[in-house]
């Protein structure tokens, strides 16, 4: 891999810092009147998810990180690893529960996720923004209560618990936004 100078930093660029792959969030050029120019850079550590703010002298460089995002189909969980497949090459990758992290509760078999690879191995998994899942557990529905509104907790087939309207029943399928866990509506068959 090559390296990138602070002048080339753009948001989304992947670089190595303190031995970890990071994604550049923001890069501000700061130049005092007659002196050294600096870059104040915000980077997201792709391992921990933390955002770091660091100051560099302008023109210094960081090694590029071998990080790429790939669309992959989620296959199954064998109890220890989550298995994904690249749709074009059928190449399979396995990711630990630690790597999949919070995404696990949205993963439905055959859904296409974004798997971030670092040196060829999964580093993070991002579920689709919208998923369609079945309600496996919730209090009985209250018929004819639609006008009044109100919500109740419902457990979905993947284990996620979300708030749904009172009239929904076990066995119904719902559309959910995975970024905030919000109920979007009943899924049309």
């Amino acid at each position: 891999m090559g390296s990138y100078s602070t002048n080339e930093f753009r948001s989304g660029m992947k670089v190595m810092l303190d031995g970890d792959p990071c994604s550049i969030v923001d890069n501000e050029f700061v130049k005092p009147g007659k002196g050294q120019a600096f870059n104040r850079v915000k980077l997201r550590n792709l391992k921990s998810g933390r955002v770091w703010e660091r100051t560099f002298k302008s023109g210094e460089s960081l090694e590029a990180a071998d990080v790429m995002d790939r669309d992959m189909e989620y296959l199954y969980n064998d109890g220890e690893f989550f298995h994904f497949m690249e749709p074009d090459t059928f190449e399979q990758h396995q990711a630990s529960a630690e790597v999949v992290s919070d995404a696990a509760k949205w993963l439905k078999e055959q859904d296409v996720c974004v798997v971030t690879l670092y040196n060829g191995a999964p580093l993070a998994v991002t579920p689709p923004n919208h998923v369609i899942l079945e309600i496996t557990d919730t209090d009985p529905g209250l018929k004819g209560d639609t006008a009044q509104g109100g919500t109740k907790p419902a457990t979905l087939s993947t284990g996620a618990v979300i708030k749904v309207p009172l009239f929904l029943e076990i066995g119904e399928t719902v559309k959910v936004d995975t970024r905030n866990g919000e109920y979007l509506g009943r899924a049309k068959d």
Partner: protein, 316 residues
């Protein structure tokens, strides 16, 4: 994408034109003459922290002017008298929310004045255009002492480095006090300056650039250089100008030595300026350069330079 469009609104471009007219009227009323100097030059700046854009002209390297300073000083040495330049300057690699590689610079010189007299005129211009109250005026030392409890002229590199590191995470090493002072100034102190006009004067001698170095009231040699800030953003940088040819030559050589030691391009520097100082009739004078887009950003309440420029470099 509509990349053909200007990034500034038509309304902002009209107001930009009004401010240009106001600036020219300000100098006309004071008998300061508008002059023009080359944007394309056979010599480059020596300032190690400024990178010239290199062009090719007639098969030879040429450089876009990073400031009109050398040209204006040659006119002063030829007897031009009080004069100003309002036009483009170019700096390689300077891009960001407050920077565009091509920008508008207003630079003017006052014959027989020192830095304090010129500071008053800068304040009059800024307070007039921006309709702000009278400025705060304090020395570089007073600013560091009141905000950080350190004397910038006597603090050791180690003290300054630790102070900087206590404020934020830094990814480089330096044994130059000037680097740490620049960092503290730009990252810590500038954001704390008030919303009005602030003038900071008597910079460390290591940051003299082309200002005279003279002992201050405490006998410490300081650069007779000042900066004007509005709302924590640097708008102008001025000097009680160096007029000594031998000292000018020595500073060019020092810049070149720094450039060579740090692997920076060492373009030919402007020997004609040294000649002008040595052979011409260079008057004692003070000069200042002001970033016109920065002024417009303040005037129009813009957060980005692209809001006050018709076509920034990404669309140029």
């Amino acid at each position: 994408m509509q990349d053909w469009r200007p990034t500034a609104t038509i309304e902002n471009l009209r107001r930009r034109a009004q401010v240009f007219a106001e600036l020219r009227a300000f100098f006309a009323a004071r008998n300061v003459i508008e002059v023009d100097v080359p944007a394309l030059s056979q010599r480059a700046t020596s300032d190690p922290h400024i990178d010239s854009i290199t062009a090719t002209c007639g098969g030879n390297s040429a450089y876009l002017a990073t400031s009109p300073e050398f040209g204006l000083k040659r006119l002063l040495a030829a007897g031009m008298g009080d004069c100003y330049y309002l036009g483009k300057a170019f700096r390689n690699g300077e891009a960001g929310s407050r920077h565009n590689p091509e920008f508008t610079m207003l630079e003017w010189y006052r014959v027989g004045w020192d830095d304090h007299q010129l500071m008053d005129e800068v304040a009059a211009l800024l307070c007039g255009v921006l309709q702000l109250p009278a400025p705060d005026k304090l020395s570089y030392r007073a600013l560091f002492q009141s905000e950080l409890g350190v004397d910038p002229h006597s603090a050791t590199v180690s003290e300054l480095r630790q102070l900087a590191r206590s404020h934020f995470e830094i990814e480089f090493e330096s044994e130059a006090a000037a680097d740490w002072l620049d960092l503290l100034m730009s990252h810590v102190l500038e954001p704390r300056l008030g919303t009005g006009v602030t003038l900071v004067y008597d910079f460390p001698a290591s940051q003299a650039a082309l200002a005279k170095v003279e002992p201050d009231a405490l006998g410490v040699p300081v650069a007779r250089r000042f900066e004007a800030y509005v709302g924590g953003v640097e708008l102008a940088n001025g000097y009680w100008e160096l007029t000594d040819a031998a000292e000018q030559h020595r500073r060019f050589e020092a810049d070149h030595a720094y450039r060579r030691a740090n692997g920076l391009p060492a373009h030919p520097f402007e020997e004609r300026l040294v000649e002008a100082l040595a052979l011409g009739d260079m008057p004692e004078c003070a000069g200042v350069a002001l970033g016109v887009e920065r002024l417009l950003m303040q005037k129009l309440g813009a957060g980005k330079i692209s809001e006050v420029l018709a076509l920034p470099f990404e669309r140029a």
